[in-house]
């Protein structure tokens, strides 16, 4: 498929375009969005927009580059529209969750603990990342971590549970995405996340994705699955070895690229197909390397997720972003490869902050003839309950607990 300007009709191309270039927001549209956001503790990073075919995109609008975007979000009586100056397409702006305006019993705004992106709630219980503390942080990182390595910004299990409950009451907590920064512990952060995962599993019929660091020993991968994580993400970020060492010095020195790959390979044998994922940032290395990374990761049963790089204010790393024409074939390759290797691509779906493998289908003949019955089913209440039930059954069948501690030979 040849990519050319006029992306409004293709949701995936439009999503890539909007993520790369951002969007200007018309006054009327901004007023409407602001009314929604009034009372929340902080402004969300981008606007979640639902494009055609229910494709969700989180689009930058506050940044400098967004103000120069050729795309404009405008509001009329009959809804929201995106225009590129030549044509327009109708979109939806999902309402901001009501619980964003509320606080935990300890006085913390829910919006600073849980971040809702379409069907996901993203929670980072601890803002600590020792990469910052050791001055080996990832050079592009803009995550909201405590750069002093402090532990004071840690939310308690109860605070996280209250947040999940608030999100759950609005039907937005079917999938909880827990993430953690780097710590020097050998478990990759799982020991810390364990009480959160167990508490959420105990109180809610929710699926849990864990974004952590690869543990030193694979027994922690087993533990991650056993305690209730339904998906695990170890983000390699960059596939090329030299660029990985240059851009992610902490990951390279303190964990090592080989360990990332070994942990991902092992996790793919423990977790269900399509639930072990790794980010490869598009734009931080030549697209050819990203494609090699896609091939390698899918060979070991891992699903690559490709966020798009945008230079961030405050970071020294500056790489010119790629264009949609260059990026789109990478996503098309991602879709084809994942499909060819038979990896389930329905777990990683409907994420607004990245372009998912499934969305790559619109880059193959415009997605003609594609009917995502499975995706639509899993987006229904019954589908979500089914996914949770199957995940629970699978765990019950797979996990065996014995009273012996490892290494003991006596009876």
């Amino acid at each position: 498929m040849k990519y050319q300007k006029g992306y409004l009709d293709n949701p995936t191309l439009l999503k890539i375009e909007l993520m790369l270039n951002g969007i200007r927001v018309g006054k009327k549209a901004l007023d409407k969005v602001m009314v929604e956001m009034a009372g929340t503790d902080e402004m969300v990073d981008g606007i979640d927009i639902v494009l055609s075919h229910k494709t969700k995109a989180n689009v930058p609008y506050k940044e400098e580059f967004a103000r120069k975007s050729s795309y404009l979000l405008k509001s009329r009586r009959d809804g929201f529209f995106i225009t590129d100056g030549e044509g327009e397409v109708k979109v939806e702006i999902p309402p901001i969750p009501n619980f964003y305006k509320e606080k935990t019993t300890t006085g913390i705004p829910f919006s600073s603990i849980g971040d809702v992106h379409s069907g996901y709630v993203v929670i980072t219980p601890s803002k600590r990342c020792d990469f910052f503390y050791s001055d080996v942080e990832c050079r592009y990182c803009t995550a909201n971590f405590d750069s002093n390595g402090g532990t004071e910004s840690t939310y308690s299990v109860d605070e996280v549970l209250e947040t999940v409950e608030a999100a759950h009451s609005e039907g937005k907590a079917e999938i909880i995405y827990l993430s953690i920064g780097f710590g020097k512990e050998e478990d990759g952060g799982i020991r810390f996340l364990k009480p959160y995962i167990k508490a959420i599993k105990k109180h809610f019929n929710a699926l849990i994705a864990v974004e952590a660091l690869p543990p030193i020993d694979n027994i922690w991968v087993d533990e991650t699955y056993a305690i209730g994580a339904d998906s695990v993400i170890y983000n390699l970020e960059i596939f090329d070895k030299e660029l990985f060492e240059l851009i992610c010095p902490g990951r390279a020195k303190l964990i090592g690229r080989e360990r990332y790959i070994d942990a991902l390979r092992y996790a793919a044998t423990v977790f269900p197909s399509g639930t072990v994922a790794s980010h490869l940032i598009v734009g931080l290395e030549p697209p050819g390397y990203t494609i090699m990374g896609i091939d390698y990761l899918t060979d070991i049963g891992v699903i690559p997720i490709l966020p798009i790089y945008r230079p961030s204010p405050g970071r020294t790393l500056r790489v010119d972003p790629l264009t949609t024409e260059v990026i789109a074939p990478v996503y098309a390759h991602l879709y084809r490869t994942v499909k060819k290797k038979g990896i389930n691509m329905h777990w990683v779906r409907d994420i607004s902050i990245v372009t998912t493998p499934l969305e790559g289908r619109f880059l193959i003949d415009g997605g003609r003839g594609f009917r995502s019955i499975i995706r639509d089913f899993y987006n229904t209440k019954v589908g979500l309950k089914t996914a949770w039930g199957l995940a629970t059954l699978r765990r019950k069948l797979r996990v065996k607990e014995s009273g012996e501690s490892s290494g003991s030979s006596s009876s």
Binding site: I219, D222, E223, Y225, A226, T269, V270, R394, L397, R398, V399, K400, E401, S402, G403, E404, S405, S406, S409, S410, S411
Partner: protein, 475 residues
């Protein structure tokens, strides 16, 4: 808590999970079928129901789908429910002397272990006689056997295991590779197994068999009477066992220097003999004397329970201390097995089954004894030895009346071989404990065990044929 992820295909895991409920459905169906078919000639309705219950319990005991004790509870429920015995008769059978004897024996063994006396005796004997490679093997083998004369063989294996493991580690033997390592741990297991059949105290089998004998035929076997009849088998097995072991697993280490020091260090750690050890030792000694000389008059259970009361009067143990040594599952299993055995006997089902099985082609008492002992030896490799008693005793009692054999002899023919499981770790806890050391593999144990099993069957039958008539147990 160790976590393992089962990576087998999900369909297989689902199938395996499904087997359990399907098995119960299958059992229910077979049970319903057995109750619905016309009663065979020569069998009463109660007898037919008793056999149906027996077959259900037999399957559950062999398959271990539910714990052995729970199968016994099921038997206790089903026997009155299907009109084989009345409710009153059923529950009264649980008050059998054998049940209370084994309860007393568990508590006494618990007191001996808790006081540290058994460990001290073990370390002293091993230190004194284990001064050479072969001497140490002999010491472990005989010590395990002798201790199993007086306490449960399972308890002896569990007690000696850490000591033997420490010796093996001290000698830097390579797990799975060292012949001497195999020798030490199989000696431990076999010593316990052979010693365990010598008296009523070695395990639960003999009291259970005697309990069923008493309930069904009114006869009993005395403490000394049993040991006198069985002792030649024990002696033969000890001699053959030791020689088989040292030939199959030749000593592959130089003469030892450090073992004595290691054992004496462990002994020193125990300190001087405490008041509790003296007192518990004295009570145990008096108990054994009473079993020997007063057992027939007072009953073994009365003596055992009296000693238990004395232990508590002198505050030698606390209830909390001995609770972990009392295997309530085995006690429940006992009660259920006695009830089921009695149900089969009183309903005429046992005699009918005997007639239809071995009775159909066994022509002489000699063949009956040989077949029963062989069946017990084979079954005990696969299922709990107490379950073997529960399964075979009712049939055996039936055979006794058909062939005019003294039921006491039938009891011996089942109870003794049922304890001689040498081949597999699942056969008896002593084997399982040895294999858990990783010094002995299942193959090693099976290789040596098959030879011992055949020897045991031949030795038992020779003793039965030649020696028993001399002591008045002719057939």
């Amino acid at each position: 808590m160790k976590i393992e992820i089962d990576r087998r295909p999900l369909w297989l895991l689902l199938l395996l999970k499904g087997i359990r409920p399907l098995s119960f459905l299958g059992i229910a169906f077979v049970f319903w079928y057995l109750l619905s078919i016309p009663t065979p000639e020569g069998l009463t309705l109660a007898g037919r129901n008793a056999i149906a219950i027996f077959l259900v319990c037999l399957f559950l005991w062999v398959s271990n789908l539910i714990p052995l004790a729970v199968t016994s509870i099921l038997a206790i429920i089903m026997v009155p429910l299907f009109g084989v015995l009345t409710e009153r008769e059923t529950f009264a059978l649980f008050g059998n002397e054998a049940v209370f004897f084994i309860l007393g024996a568990f508590i006494l063994a618990g007191a001996v272990m808790h006081s540290g006396l058994s460990k001290r005796i073990a370390l002293s004997i091993m230190g004194r006689f284990g001064d050479s490679s072969r001497g140490l093997v002999r010491a472990i083998f005989l010590l395990a056997a002798i201790l199993s004369f007086f306490m449960s063989e399972h308890a002896v294996a569990a007690m000696l295991f850490p000591i033997v493991l420490e010796i093996a580690k001290g000698l830097k033997l390579r797990p799975g590779r060292s012949n001497y390592g195999k020798l030490l741990f199989i000696s431990l297991a076999w010593g316990c197994i052979i010693g365990g059949v010598a008296t009523f105290l070695g395990g639960a089998r003999v009291p259970l068999a005697v309990g069923i004998l008493k309930e069904t035929g009114g006869e009993t076997i005395g403490f000394i009477e049993y040991t006198v009849a069985v002792f030649p088998v024990v002696i033969i097995m000890l001699v053959v066992g030791y020689n088989v072991l040292v030939r199959l697993f030749p000593v592959d280490i130089p003469e030892m220097a450090d073992t004595g020091g290691l054992l004496s260090r462990r002994l020193q750690e125990l300190g001087k003999v405490s008041y509790n050890e003296y007192a518990v030792g004295t009570i145990m000694f008096v108990t054994v004397l009473a079993w020997v000389f007063l057992g027939g008059r007072l009953g073994l259970a009365i003596i055992a329970l009296t000693s238990v009361v004395v232990l508590f009067i002198f505050r030698l143990v606390r209830w909390k201390d001995i609770e972990e040594y009392v295997n309530w599952g085995i006690i429940l299993m006992y009660g259920g097995a006695i009830i089921l055995g009695t149900a089969l006997d009183k309903s005429g089902a046992a005699a009918w089954m005997a007639d239809q099985t071995i009775g159909a082609w066994a022509r002489t008492p000699w063949v009956v004894i040989a077949l029963l002992s062989l069946t017990a030896l084979v079954l005990t490799e696969g299922i709990s030895n107490v379950a073997v008693i529960a399964i075979l005793m009712p049939v055996g009692i039936g055979m006794a009346s058909k062939f005019g054999i003294d039921p006491v002899i039938i009891t011996f023919s089942i109870a003794v071989p049922a304890g001689l499981a040498f081949c597999l770790p699942m056969s008896t806890p002593a084997n399982a404990i040895s294999v858990s050391s990783n010094y002995v593999g299942v193959k090693d144990m099976a290789k040596a065990g098959i030879f011992m099993g055949i020897t045991a069957w031949i030795a038992f039958n020779i003793v039965a044929r030649v020696y028993w008539p001399i002591i008045g147990l002719g057939f």
